[in-house]
Symmetry: C2
Amino acid sequence: MLKRISLYLLITLILAFLISETPTYSNAEQPFRLAIHGGAGVILRENLSAEDEKAYHEKLSEALQAGHQVLKNGGKSLDAVETAIKILEDSPLFNAGKGAVFTSEGTIELDAAIMDGASLAAGSVAGTKHIKNPISLARMVMEKSPHVMMVGNGAEKFAQKQGMTLVDQKYFFTKRRFEQLQKEKAKESKKTSFLKTQLHDENKFGTVGAVALDKIGNLAAGTSTGGTTNKKFGRVGDAPIIGAGTYANNQTCAVSATGHGEYFIRAVVAYDISALMQYQKLSLKDASDKVVMDKLVKFGGAGGVICIDKDGNIAMPFNTPGMYRGSIDENGKITTSIFR
Amino acid sequence: MLKRISLYLLITLILAFLISETPTYSNAEQPFRLAIHGGAGVILRENLSAEDEKAYHEKLSEALQAGHQVLKNGGKSLDAVETAIKILEDSPLFNAGKGAVFTSEGTIELDAAIMDGASLAAGSVAGTKHIKNPISLARMVMEKSPHVMMVGNGAEKFAQKQGMTLVDQKYFFTKRRFEQLQKEKAKESKKTSFLKTQLHDENKFGTVGAVALDKIGNLAAGTSTGGTTNKKFGRVGDAPIIGAGTYANNQTCAVSATGHGEYFIRAVVAYDISALMQYQKLSLKDASDKVVMDKLVKFGGAGGVICIDKDGNIAMPFNTPGMYRGSIDENGKITTSIFR
């Protein structure tokens, strides 16, 4: 009798092993991982002092460690994404939250989005001027309203109604970004056409973002940005556009993009990576390479993405000289990079 | 000698016939077609008087004929889309331009987007309050700026800079929409939670849109909307989101959507139809049915789309009781419908 039960068990185990599509993990091995970026662009080693380079690596590590703690403690991928992005928003090093670039009117206008791969719930805000952490407001839109996207004053009224304290524009001010605006304005006065404005240098775009896989297998993605230096006319880029700069779906992957937003919107970058995985059965690496290193390059769209799939694979392709980026695995192993 | 040339010609013709993937047309047969919608929702025959029904059919026909004239005269699909949508925007019958629904603050806030399938150029505006024809401003953003999306006051400043005359909010006022707002507000006062607000009745959403294929084979799509009655906090729906409510790509199709925008954004509806055609080689009909009648239904997203492919096939699936819709072919043959 015991022999027969053992035989059944053995057969069951062998079958389970054979039909499992993905590697199985014991609790200790279940991957929970986080990847972040701090923007892609013309980031050249010769323009970055050793001191600055160190500061970027340190801040990326700090954000990764904070997100990792959330995941390690059994927190949601959404929480890890929000936690990591808040640290990048609060740092003057990146173009999001404090340290964001100036609009042509000398104001700061911030956009952000977050998406839950489990439910496909999403929240997004654009053109906010007094929100310290736009990623947290995007999450509130997702969780505390029936809407996905809110813009301008309306989004801030919602924030107040939810008890969020607004901050003065002065909070976001950094001397470095103010000087960048003056430079752009000086360059602009020599230009003849608004239509032909180019956005190809590092000063002009930048974003922060995070993607995560938690212990129970849920994916999440988030992105936050100040947009482009000297931006005009209420311009909105790809960061707050679900499917363009931000997308997450447990069936495929979570993606956060950074780059020339206009191209990323028109190429529906984040969802395209997901669609290639779902419909053409490409791997995360092949799908993200196809979109960033092939389709976007032919299209003329400079930038990169970070993405993670349901098995914890991470890909971070970019077609610019540099992208501030990093990842952390379930063992707490951190990698951060800036250049190729 | 003449015999040999004839033989070559014959062989060439047979080969050309055999390798042509799509039917070939003489100039007279080259299809140029246009489809439009005036919104999907709970449109019930018992709630629509014979007089109103007639008015809808007549206005849809007028828009189709105007767009058809553009195409017939060799105009671009973009021009046909803009022309048809302007007529729907100018009519008080539809929730776009004049006759748009009111926000909770008693204002009118309009969104629109347009996309060129040939170049993947796109333009989009959201939260405009003084633009008579938002579809034309979206086109200006596409053609006269380096950006894709502009929101709020910024978009209006751009309009003025381009020489567009702004109109007073009074222009958009209709008694019918004002009464709808009062009804919504009365209902709202009985509700307990903003989060649980439902948007399932016809009064609450509506959109207009057009898709076209022109004589030289270029596709275009456009969408324009007032959003949802009693909308709050700068809410933006799917209409101005490239990939969600509006998308066009000569390789696949042009799509304009109408429905519960939050679901359409999260499902990246318009681009998903294109991706299914490109990556899974589905026909336009199968791809749009899959997204609207299967994926969106399971997801809980009420609404529909109109779409056209590069061969001039048109599909108009909707999962609601009704959708104001119509199409016109190269011979000027018009079909308009409201119910199933």
